[in-house]
Amino acid sequence: MDWGLFTIQMLNGVQLGVLLFLLAAGLTLVFGIMDFVNLAHGSLYMMGAYFCATLVQLTDSFVLGVILALPLTALLGWLVELIVVRALYTHDHLDHVLATFGLILCFDTAVDFIWGPTGMAIPLPEILDSHIDLMGGHTFPVFRILIICTGLAVAGFLYVMVAHTRIGMLIRAGASNRTMVMALGVDIGKLFALVFAVGAALAGLAGMLIAPITEASIGMGNEIIIVAFVVIIIGGIGSIKGAFVAAMLVGLIDTMGRSFLDQLLKIFMSSESAETSAPALSAMAIYILMAMVLAFRPQGLFPPKVR
């Protein structure tokens, strides 16, 4: 086996995991605290990418683009919460799914209207657009390492915020018992608007980080949001720690499955049947994992204490 290739795929898996974590963090908090199912979270990921692409064009600097696009995405999230989401708290999950499904349609069309149907590439500065050498003559893009580092930094920041600050304490309390927090005099509406805006910024950041690799395109959030839901269900709704562990798990399983499952299957079966079944199995792997977690541990791996 080629260990250089193995290392590269491990790194790719971690990079996917980190992106999923950025998306899942906001999603799981919004879900956990307000019991709100937000399918349109993927749209905020897309909007982040488009804001960033435009700002990079205007300022000619990737870093400046990201720094300016972050508050813009947070503002957009705050507006979405104010205009649409707030009216839906008292409704059931089915209504959340339908209304945010409508939001996705609106966002996708708005992007089509403003930026046009073709995608937007984000050019990277030269330092980021290079490769570093790994063992065995393989190289790995510097930018992907930056993604991993950014994601880990955000994870660390969120951990400190949730575990060691007053806001974080309220968030944790809200996730385990919303009514009690309200009874203690906390303005949970304000808290939630804040969480929603921060979640939007994180989703936007994920979009900004992936766009230089894939380019910003319409509907880019619609595939990954489903995977992000898989992550928060596996991790346990409302748990940042669960989201992180599950995101890494899903990122690694998905990436490693796609690259090495056919070789693994060849040990057990003929190479022909291995090659036909491997793509299907690897695409399904994360859903199988989720179904298994739900069947045996319906609350996820790390459910918040006391529901």
Binding site: H93, L94, T109, L294, A295
Partner: protein, 324 residues
């Protein structure tokens, strides 16, 4: 529980609607617009799927976010035999129904162990598995889809190669499925399903094994959608796994809720509004998804109980109670 016996619309509206559907091909000929037949055929096929979904969503309170998968299974049950030049309609439709029922049995047995939003997500996950299965089978076209050269043959009894015949075949199917769902909902079995929606624990205390009842209901619902899928495959002559994308599952839910979940004709009405509005808006502007999405949000926020709820709100006499 008067709300159990509800068809959703005043009787004369339903009769008028069905009469309209029956006369539509003639009307289309008269105004010389054959496209209308295609439009209403698609509408009726999706109505069948929506009626099937409504059986578990509306009456049973099980929100399946993966029912488009059964459409795909049904469509491929026509497509794959056709790929091997087997055009026997009885066989194809039997495969469609039994394959969907089998998948629903296995996935339902697992999914029904969960509740609420977990159920929504696990049904979605299973639908994604079905989707990726068909995407990865190169033999049957994978992503690019499969062309069906000839429609199903019913041993010379029925020639659905002709669009008119297929239209009436679909219409009769729709009426039959409506009749089936009506019978199910008003049977003892249906009462148990509705009861379990209202209060599952109480139903269990009375002595009903609600899990088994729900599973059977889920399987029937899946089989109906599989049947609709087989019709869809015949209708489009071209099938892709993309038909099972989660977005389409979402649309199916919306059709049911729009018309009023838990009423017999609600899903048909919802599908009609959905398809016709889609058709109308997409002619007005290429950006039609925006008003469409905005309307979705407004409907959800302001009218509980879909269009039926709106009728009630407007003071029309209607048999439906609001959604609980």
């Amino acid at each position: 529980m008067t709300s159990l016996i509800r068809t959703g619309l005043p009787a004369y509206v339903m009769v008028a609607g069905l009469a309209f559907l029956a006369l539509l091909p003639l009307l289309a000929e008269w105004v010389d617009n054959i496209f209308l037949i295609d439009l209403f055929m698609r509408l009726m096929i999706l109505s069948i799927a929506a009626v099937g979904l409504n059986l578990i969503l509306g009456y049973g309170g099980m929100v399946s976010f993966g029912h488009a998968a059964y459409l795909v299974i049904g469509a491929y049950a026509v497509g794959i035999p056709a790929y091997y030049d087997i055009y026997d309609g009885f066989l194809q439709f039997a495969i469609a129904i039994f394959a969907s029922a089998a998948v629903a049995l296995v996935t339902g047995a697992i999914a029904l162990r969960t509740k609420g939003v977990y159920f929504i997500m696990i049904t979605m996950a299973f639908a994604q598995m079905v989707y990726f299965t068909f995407v990865s089978i190169e033999e049957y076209g994978a992503d690019d889809g499969l062309t069906i050269n000839m429609r199903s043959e019913f041993a010379g009894l029925l020639d659905i190669e002709d669009n008119f015949t297929l239209y009436y075949f679909v219409l009769v199917s729709l009426i039959a499925v409506l009749g089936l769902v009506y019978r199910i909902v008003h049977s003892r079995f249906g009462m148990v399903i509705s009861g379990a929606k209202g209060n599952e624990r109480r139903m269990q205390a009375v002595g009903f094994p609600t899990y088994r009842y729900r599973l059977v209901c889920y399987v029937i619902s899946g089989a109906i959608c599989g049947y609709a899928g087989a019709l869809l495959g015949n209708f489009t002559n071209f099938i892709t796994p993309e038909m099972g994308d989660w977005v389409h599952s979402g649309e199916l839910i919306f059709m049911v809720v729009l018309g009023g979940a838990g009423s017999l004709f609600g899903p048909v009405l919802g599908t009609a509004v959905f398809i016709l509005l889609e058709e109308y808006l997409s002619r007005l502007t290429q950006y039609w998804h925006f008003p469409f999405g905005a309307m979705l949000i407004l409907v959800v926020i302001f009218t509980r109980g879909g269009i039926n709820g709106m009728f009630r709100w407007l003071g029309m006499k209607s048999g439906i109670g609001g959604r609980s």
